[in-house]
Symmetry: D2
Subunit: 183 residues, 4 copies
Amino acid sequence: MNHRKAPELQVSTWLNTPHPLSLEQLRGKVVLIEAFQMLCPGCVSHGLPQATRVAETFDPDEVAVLGLHTVFEHHKAQGSREALEAFLHEYRLRFPVGIDAPSPGGGVPRTMAAYAMRGTPTQILIDREGNLRRQSFGVEQDLVLGAAIARLLGATPAEQTDPPDAPDEGCDETGCAMPETSP
Amino acid sequence: MNHRKAPELQVSTWLNTPHPLSLEQLRGKVVLIEAFQMLCPGCVSHGLPQATRVAETFDPDEVAVLGLHTVFEHHKAQGSREALEAFLHEYRLRFPVGIDAPSPGGGVPRTMAAYAMRGTPTQILIDREGNLRRQSFGVEQDLVLGAAIARLLGATPAEQTDPPDAPDEGCDETGCAMPETSP
Amino acid sequence: MNHRKAPELQVSTWLNTPHPLSLEQLRGKVVLIEAFQMLCPGCVSHGLPQATRVAETFDPDEVAVLGLHTVFEHHKAQGSREALEAFLHEYRLRFPVGIDAPSPGGGVPRTMAAYAMRGTPTQILIDREGNLRRQSFGVEQDLVLGAAIARLLGATPAEQTDPPDAPDEGCDETGCAMPETSP
Amino acid sequence: MNHRKAPELQVSTWLNTPHPLSLEQLRGKVVLIEAFQMLCPGCVSHGLPQATRVAETFDPDEVAVLGLHTVFEHHKAQGSREALEAFLHEYRLRFPVGIDAPSPGGGVPRTMAAYAMRGTPTQILIDREGNLRRQSFGVEQDLVLGAAIARLLGATPAEQTDPPDAPDEGCDETGCAMPETSP
């Protein structure tokens, strides 16, 4: 299959990271880019919590999660570095976030334009070789996103043991445990 | 890697399917078995809705979803075929469901014992060759389950287009769309 | 205003209470009757948790919460005392629950018929004098139900202090606390 | 009982209203003031949606809902009128919102100080005579808030008919309707 190279990020400022990042540097990892605006309700309630879950679920040596602040409206209200810093702090977002570089004429910022994104939130998946493999706008289901990431990761073991949320005995809202049996 | 063959299902009655099912028959597909009890709150609120999402998300020619009613308590209340039929009807569960065959001495039913399940809900994943690859008790995250299924599916394309829940214009609770631009 | 006397309960069996209950006995309290069926999804996900919240929110000397199991379908599956006992146990429902007395000809049970209920869940509010004041079928909003109960309670103080879910410092998902200031 | 007069609002700018508002003007109505910050996660996920539900549930001639933007941190990020306007627009908040007047020395704004609020969200209830009757910081339950508002409203009829979310036939996630019966 022929895949299209993912356009490089054009970022004016990076937050939550000591060094600027690039897709070039991240070759070898699967990359999730979560494009958002801090005043986009669907980003706050769905896209960003999902990106946090991805960062917590997958091995950071295998999957890199990046936020991209793609401001295409309300530039004055949400376009400053201070506003974004405060937002990331209050919402406890820990992954690196880049501010998409503004276009000379205003309007849609550069990376957003290069990917022809239709709005926010947009989820972008890039494979280990730097190819753009999936781009979705709006609410993405966790089952679908988890499956898409795993496909790009390829053969990795990850057979897991029991998840943490299960009752020790009796029933609770997570399930019903069997009583211990005598031998 | 050496994998253990998944024990065959021991089912006394099948619902939601014209013919009895077996793992043997399902070779070639990835199989999700959702073991549940109709009076287990975590099964009703989490496990069974998740199994429904899996059945709706993946191609049924690739992934088979089965329910297994593993009654290990309150046999009188939830152990009858009529009770289970009513439950499946009211909760609109459409995938095939087998009633785990009771053990001669009562208590833990046969399939549940063969898999050494610890309670309900239990999610079991079986690969295309019939090997038991993953078993989890309690609340499983969709991201994790979606990734696990995709790993067993192996190389399948599934690069997708935009998901359905996105705004056409302006912002709603799913996201913010860019305004249409003149050419 | 003229109010209609609430028809007396016709209950074949009581659970979660040492003695049978009657509306007659409960004069002086506001009464919430939560009519439900154990296999009704909206009762399990909405009506019964709401009744539990009412029982936890209001003073039990002022507001009595009763469940009424009004089985009008799937009698065989959910009509037995054992089934209901198991259900109440697993869902940790603690308030008294009566089994609505079956009608001679089967079908709609007696109390349900006397109130002309249209289905489950049905929320019924009875004032301190035993009058039927409100009856609603389906999903009732907490704001509306809380207001309706308070109206029937009449003049009661209940000015409250801070609710428990608030941060001690900084922001969490419940709010943002002001930093302590030096005097 | 002796009640304390609620301190008058000190607002620098009003949004979502053609005229400035005051508690003085609102005598005769019960008033809910929802104090919030646009970058407070608990305000966005809980406090503001609850204020919207109150505005939609109660008669606007009886209950006035006001937002109060009480910025006590991140002044640069969330302190401008433009930022708040964009926020109200994107989150579709329709009730009048005042910007709490900044204190001369910075820090806690004036109305927030006058009420000795501890953080955001804070819910404040004022009775028809302008007395401060309830103030709570953090997550407030709808049942409790609905009851508190109804107590302040006093004797109002409001016996209601069936709520809208109920099935016409069969079961759905809101409930189970009885089948139509032949006469």
